[in-house]
Symmetry: C2
Subunit: 314 residues, 2 copies
């Protein structure tokens, strides 16, 4: 049986020039789901995670604009809402694509909490930009009023920054695992959307915390937790590159953990984009994973045949 966990990048759901309407989200989701349904039709048993950047950004903006009329929800609840939004569209569109192919499996989305550590240094030094831009004056006001941390993102334009703590475990992983391994007539599961809702473990209770977990790192933790052997990250680029954007740019077709760690140390992979994907790959392979593939949705089919994408092995 060929199985894999597939992490859908934000790009598979909305692109920078997309307008973010529901129609637009359905269109992009359909493009991605045609590719995923083909893969399932060819005999793959898959489990899914996904990004939520633009969607949770819009939910936060809605909360803020309407805060005089509607009590704004904290970030963890906004992430949960984005899991509902994207999960619904994803399960509906993928279900429909599978039905067209005569595949009688259901797709379900599970609201997922991801455990982070209150000692994580990220809580002392928030780095993840979220939500809209503000002037210096507005930023100072928001800091005073709501205690937000704000930093200059572009020149003169400030944005809220939140912690991006490392995922330590998935609260619902045993349920996800049971569903994923319930066989070929069992459901296909969407979970850990947007990196999951971050929660702290306090005196045997889970408590939501404001933050954003990198979705590739959360996906790697989930993949390892449920003993998945193959982890696929779908993103904007077809390959991982060395010296990306320079005249020396070259594709990596295959590498092992040691090479990946060395390139990461050399600063080959920027922190905001490819870096977390390589970190996630290393985490997964060290926890017993057998194979990682990084490629674009368009090149996924070729990559599965070994003709494209970047593979990382232990």
């Amino acid at each position: 049986m060929k199985t894999a966990l597939v992490a859908l990048g934000g790009n598979s759901l909305l692109r920078p020039k997309d307008d973010g309407t529901a129609e637009n989200q359905y269109k992009r989701m359909k493009e991605s789901c045609v590719i995923l349904a083909d893969m399932i039709d060819e005999g793959y048993d898959l489990v899914f995670t996904h990004g939520n950047g633009p969607q949770v950004g819009n939910i936060l903006l809605q909360n803020e604009i309407s805060s005089k009329s509607v009590p704004p929800m904290p970030l963890d609840i906004c992430v949960a809402q984005s899991q509902g939004q994207i999960g619904y569209i994803f399960q509906q569109v993928l279900n429909n694509e599978l039905k067209k192919r005569g595949v009688k499996r259901k797709v379900v989305s599970i609201i997922t909490q991801v455990i982070v550590d209150s000692d994580d240094p990220a809580f002392d030094k928030p780095t993840k930009y979220i939500g809209p831009y503000y002037t210096k004056e507005e930023a100072d006001k928001l800091n005073k009023k709501l205690g937000w941390s704000l930093k200059e993102d572009k020149k003169g334009q400030y944005r809220r920054v939140v912690p991006s703590p490392k995922p330590k475990g998935i609260v619902e992983s045993d349920v996800i695992k049971a569903l994923v391994f319930s066989g070929l007539d069992g459901p296909l599961v969407i979970s850990a959307g947007g990196g999951g809702v971050p929660v702290l473990e306090k005196e045997d209770s889970f408590v939501g915390v404001e933050g954003v977990i990198d979705k590739d790192l959360a996906s790697a933790v989930l993949a390892a937790d449920i003993d998945e052997e193959f982890f696929i990250m779908l993103t904007r680029v077809d390959h991982v590159y060395l010296d990306f954007g320079t005249i020396e740019e070259r594709k990596i077709h295959e590498m092992n953990i040691q090479e990946a760690e060395r390139y990461l140390e050399e600063g080959q992979f920027p922190p905001g984009s490819m870096g977390p994907k390589i970190e996630a790959s290393i985490h997964f392979l060290k926890k017993g994973g057998k194979k990682v593939l990084i490629t674009s949705p368009e090149k996924l089919s070729d990559a599965l045949d070994g003709d494209n994408g970047t593979y990382i092995y232990p």
Copy 2:
């Protein structure tokens, strides 16, 4: 094994005088979950549904207020977001209450689509009020601009009305059933939140549609679909009453389908409140259900001992 499907009324999540903040929602949820966790601790295997009135109302209002900056989402997506929001809070709080009692079962929320019929007369005659109030002028403008139906709710105050079609089936019911009957170490499932996201079945595809499904009717369809025998609706009142609000008011301790149908025809149960609960009871019992209980969360424990609440039998 004692099993039941429990439908949590909106009142268990937020009350009319509550302010709707996250803190407030957590507080109410905790009150409800203490009662539910006690019931599980006493040996009940439960599956849950819940309302979403105030929450989806707030999400709609946020969408509208910020519509110049953020593309507003259609009602079906807003319902899915409310399932994410409430499902997250519900599963977290109930998980924590169970942990305190040493019960090692996980609680998970499943995003749920509920099938409605495009021929449902509700689509020609929307009756369900949602969202904020408008003046006559604003209402006319929204009708012209967005094609909304608006009706006078209170004198001079108009609100959007949407169809409330009857639920015909639950897209994810086989997955929910498999989870629910996976045994006492299996997960506790929250699903069909807010009556579920309404979808039409078109040429073998499911497509979201703007509308609101009564949560008690959707819960009854789900309970019957998964062969649950006991259906509990938690609401504001401890009992069902005859001649409610008059000097002749009296509690019903027990009735059968025939009595329920007769009282319903007599107009004993108003369409907006007790009516759908009685309709839901009749649907469930006719589909093979064995027992319905309608009571308040506070009286649930007494009611399970037979000392309170209204029971309905086939």
